[in-house]
Subunit: 190 residues, 4 copies
DNA sequence: AATGAATGAGCCTTCATTCAT
DNA sequence: CATGAATGAAGGCTCATTCAT
């Protein structure tokens, strides 16, 4: 009875292949043809699974959001204090960048490719980064509950911006030195 | 007798048009056809002026580097102290982002579009950001010459990463709130 | 209800048109645009039917092999003896060259256009000529079974080379005099 | 006083480069741009030296005719008897084909590329082959002056056709076996 | 004699999408 | 649910030639 497990198999396979290609080659540089070729599917099947390429792009970013957050949670699993969690977030950044061969953030890369601010892709990008911002807010709220609301917001945002700057410059220079400065600064902030 | 001023006019016009389009639409989304149409030139002329699209891309980034640096210098022209220069750099960021309708940094956008680390475009991107990093180093050296070399390097890098994170998230959210946190943090760092 | 007969119609039509153009104008001088124009098809359709122009070129030569062999077989249909079959092969050459207005051999012409020895086109050319060589071997084996293996191979190859030389010089001079000498020599060889 | 030796230097260099490229890549596959690039000349210079690409093509074939004939004469220099001269012609074929890596005859290759019978290139091709035919006529006239005019013409033409067939099939198969059969047959003819 | 910018048609190929089966 | 033929605009690039300098 493979019916259940087969259900949506094609869609899943297309998404799986597209996720890899979108990330490695960029969204616009990846064509539907290559996706269906590597997913061993037909053109028509693609358009029964996804309304359009953009639809697939949105699905990719949604899935990527889950995946990436999963990686981060896993990296933070053993961390007890909020201090180590925050530092762990930056340490995770270092490990991840090495693993992805400094390809960088799928969301920021797609942001660069997508000037149209009203694109559905842009919405996913903004939501993903918003949630990351929230994560830092959450950490900071736990770490220094006695500070003022405004001060906590300021620290969370600073951590977020530092994270993003580090991320993008590690990708740019394919190097770890941005992370070292960031980590030192994070320690000072806490 | 337009002879003298006409020299190189076509190349300059192509570069002018391409710079606008590459920035507004992205490098890969902009085709040679559109460029030559808007530059009122023939296909062949394009390829007598530029070896390839990538060659034009490099010329664009080189010119953009000069242009953007010029804007920044102009914005810092009236600043006396290094403290106001550093703060002025971030204030410039705010004005520029508003002016460009939050299209963001040509270099970071192109980084997102260009996974191949050995691309000539990537070289230009790295050099541009390297120079910006150097600018912060220069400011910090002037501002706190009594601190240790390592400490100054740390502060310069932190400012650089904060600048980059702010830049990219202002673009992402099309908002100024990242800048406010960044400015506050910069003041603390100085 | 043209459903059944329509299946594969576009591919066949493209091949039909391309075969004519490749032969009349040469492989490299014939562009995809002209082919699809005359086949009344869209650009994309071409590439769903054929992987590349070279792929079409190979299909052309494969089909041409069948067609040309068919013409030859038809010309030899009434011939009883192997002697008349061999002579008939050269007589066919004369009739064919007149019919094609001395355009010559599609395979030899493509050989001239294709310096790369490892091209798929070259493989088809070699196979076609190999088979023609084999045909002469077959004829000779039937005609003089009492001669030595080496002698028969020699005669078959001589006939083959004579055929090829005649073919190419009839094309070159657009004349029949090479054939007359060839025929006389063939008679002496048998 | 380099004036004299410099005279026509550009033209000679273009012809030298074009000869190599036309032969190695084919006439149509070789563009003017590549020629002038490798000849280190400007577009305009090309068109002051040659009326058109076809004009250069004709110059190439004319020069090639001289060059190739020179090679052949050199190969036959030591041959005393007409018999050895004729055999030597075929032996030369073997050495030449090896030297040119089986690229074959510039004239036959260009014939394959040039369907238009009235092309100036075709004239050069025909003349070159006509002269080769004449050479065989000359040899045969010397070798068997007692035979009838018609018989001598027949033998000369047979040698010519055999030579051409051998040439083209050595190129096709990139092998020497056609030459062996040809040589054996030539010996029988003499 | 030599230069190289300018031309525009043409090169082969890929694009995202539709639709009849 | 899956197929793959069909579309036609667009992709980056080369073509042979002209002409003002």
């Amino acid at each position: 009875m493979p019916a259940v497990t087969t259900k949506g198999t094609k869609r899943a396979e297309i998404l799986r292949v597209a996720s890899r290609l979108f990330y490695e080659q960029g969204y616009h540089r990846t064509g539907i043809q290559q996706i269906i070729d590597e997913a061993d599917t037909a053109k028509g099947t693609f358009y029964t699974c996804f309304k359009s390429k953009e639809d697939l792009g949105v699905a990719w970013l949604k899935a990527r959001h889950q995946t990436w957050n999963g990686w981060l949670q896993q990296a933070l699993a053993g961390k007890r204090t909020t201090r180590t969690k925050i530092l762990g977030t930056f340490e995770f950044l270092g490990n991840w960048m090495k693993d992805c061969d400094y390809r960088g953030c799928a969301f920021l890369n797609t942001l660069g490719e997508t000037p149209q601010a009203d694109s559905p892709l842009r919405l996913e990008i903004a939501e993903h980064k918003s949630e990351l911002h929230d994560l830092f807010r959450h950490f900071v709220a736990d770490h220094c509950p006695d500070r003022s609301e405004a001060e906590r917001e300021h620290i969370a945002t600073t951590l977020f911006l530092l994270f993003e700057g580090t991320l993008v410059q590690m990708q740019n220079f394919r190097a770890h030195w941005p992370l070292q400065s960031a980590l030192r600064q994070v320690e000072r902030l806490l």
